[in-house]
């Protein structure tokens, strides 16, 4: 909306001035970037929990499931943005294609993490839980999953931070997120470099990744009070 300050300097350090000049636009992109990074991990975890449990419960499921989810992760994100609309019956520019693509990646990362997390529960623990009367379902939710929490949250941290960077790619198809700042900077860099929007995009992405990462660590501490009790 404003033009005065942004026309003055191309120094990378001018990113703060650029931010102040384009605040409402930038904050809108930051908000979109945030929910686009978080929502797919939440949905992805909900899908990955039963799949991971399956891979743990029936050992023969593990190798093929890990291969398939691993393959999903190798699909270039930008190709997904071409493939998803026809497959899911969405319009070419439907914003839903971004969370769908990221959910696929999150599932790919989290299935292995859930399976390995459950595998980290020792047989002695399971036998003890069974001995004191836990049925399989109760044992899963009250003994195995809580013990697997540290492994699963470690995976969540990776998935969240990966999403923050992949979301930016959706900027290339015009989707509203911090990726737009990179397009902006690139476009205005043709005769000579113009860094402020690019640096601002990097700074905001890194800050967002840090905040999300710290939130998951906090969540981990909250869900595993016994670990603190042991240490102190």
């Amino acid at each position: 909306m404003t033009v005065l300050a942004s026309s003055s300097s191309s120094s990378p350090l001018q990113f703060w001035g650029y931010f102040m000049d384009h605040r409402s636009e930038d904050l809108g992109w930051l908000w979109d970037h945030t929910w686009l990074s978080v929502l797919p991990v939440v949905i992805g975890l909900l899908i990955a929990l039963p799949l991971g449990w399956l891979a743990r419960r029936y050992r023969w499921v593990y190798p093929p499931m890990m291969s398939i989810t691993g393959l999903l992760y190798t699909i270039p994100s930008i190709a997904l943005f071409v493939l998803i609309p026809p497959i899911f019956g969405l319009g070419a520019l439907d914003p839903k294609q971004v969370p769908i693509a990221l959910t696929i990646y999150s599932v790919a990362l989290l299935v292995r993490v859930v399976a390995d997390g459950l595998a980290s529960v020792s047989d002695e623990t399971i036998q003890a839980a069974t001995a004191i009367g836990y049925k399989p379902v109760g044992r899963l939710f009250r003994v195995e999953l809580p013990i697997a929490v540290p492994v699963i949250t470690a995976g969540l941290r990776v998935a969240l931070v990966a999403n923050v960077s992949i979301v930016a790619v959706a900027g290339t198809i015009g989707m509203s997120n911090l990726g737009q700042l990179f397009t902006q900077g690139f476009q205005q860099s043709t005769p000579d470099a113009y860094y402020p929007p690019i640096v601002l995009g990097i700074v905001l992405c890194v800050l967002l990744a840090l905040v999300l990462d710290l939130s998951v660590q906090a969540l981990n501490r909250l869900l595993t009070p016994w670990r603190r009790a042991v240490r102190t």
């Binding site: 384009h22 520019l93 198809i173 015009g174 397009t183 476009q187 205005q188 043709t190 005769p191």
Partner: protein, 320 residues
């Protein structure tokens, strides 16, 4: 024209689509003929020059094959640079190439004193800028506003706007507003009140400025506007236009015609415009075309133009 920019910019975005699109091109790519015929006792000027441009210029019908067919011009060598971007400009400036494929609105042409060689045989199809709009949104009021903009848009005027965004680093929406008020188009009113439009743009500055000009003018006349800017591929946004998730887009007559109809042969502004009106799907219409064109052009430095006294592309085929 700028279609290739999107492919380069979002090369993987359109991987699936461009692969199929390029497949047909590469199968008939005979580039060898380009360099073989120029040599001989009567060497042409072109045979002493190195031409630079985007990769597909070697095989595109209006690229090297078209220059050979229309003007008998065959360059000594072809070097791949980029699609009318910084690499091409700096290569031309520092003499790594002698002639370049650039876009006519590029501010770098003026600022470096480059010379555009005239194209009397219309090797490059006309690329008049015009609004493509969803029929259901094209009320008389909306048409009046957009045609009013097209009436004032000129190639050099557009080049000035690009300079403001790319060189002076101003915001596209501010530049758009300024242009509207400079041209007496910033009047507020109710010509478009009640109309809801989603305006899209491709991911290069000129197209963003055009989308902002449409947006600001329609907003001032009471329309409610949403913008989806910087869409990285024509495959994506053209689909959006056809589906109705986008209502309005600034397009280039020659490029959009080629995109819809690969066999289109028209080159003059009026022929291309007429062919485009026929080729568009029933839910899209082309409003008035502006005189502003952003087309490919063969560009040389002032020194080269003086040395060989070049004015048109045909001059390159002379012996010198």
């Amino acid at each position: 024209m700028k279609r290739t920019t999107f492919i380069a910019g979002a090369i993987a975005a359109t991987a699936a689509l461009t692969l199929t699109a390029c497949g047909s091109d590469s199968s008939k790519s005979g580039t060898g003929s380009a360099s073989s015929s120029g040599a001989g006792s009567t060497a042409t000027i072109a045979s002493k020059l190195i031409m630079g441009g985007p990769p597909e210029f070697k095989t595109r019908p209006d690229g090297l094959p078209g220059l050979q067919k229309n003007y008998g011009v065959t360059f000594g060598k072809y070097t791949v640079t980029d699609t009318g971007g910084p690499v091409t400009v700096s290569s031309l400036k520092n003499g790594q190439i002698d002639a370049a494929d650039l876009f006519t609105t590029d501010p770098a042409i003026k600022s470096n004193g480059f010379v555009i060689l005239e194209d009397p045989k219309s090797n490059f199809a006309a690329q008049n800028i015009l609004p493509i709009i969803n029929k259901s949104k094209a009320t008389d009021g909306v048409k009046k506003i957009l045609n009013g903009i097209s009436a004032k848009l000129t190639t050099s005027g557009l080049s000035d706007l690009l300079t403001k965004v790319q060189v002076d680093k101003q915001d596209a929406d501010a530049v758009a507003k300024q242009w509207l008020s400079d041209n007496g188009l910033a009047t507020t009113g109710s010509d478009a009140s009640g109309v809801k439009l989603t305006i899209g743009s491709a991911n290069f500055p000129e197209n963003v400025i055009l989308a902002q000009i449409y947006a600001e003018a329609l907003k001032a006349q009471g329309a409610s506007i949403k913008t989806t800017l910087n869409i990285g591929s024509r495959e994506k946004y053209y689909q959006g236009l056809k589906e109705g998730s986008l209502d309005l887009f600034a397009e280039y007559t020659g490029t959009i015609l080629q995109f819809i109809d690969k066999t289109a042969k028209a080159t003059s502004p009026d022929d291309v415009y007429a062919a485009l009106q026929k080729a568009l799907p029933p839910n899209l219409i082309a409003l008035d075309k502006s005189s502003a064109q952003d087309s490919d052009a063969i560009v040389v430095t002032k020194a080269t133009a003086d040395k060989y006294s070049l004015k048109t592309i045909a001059d390159l085929a002379k012996t010198g």
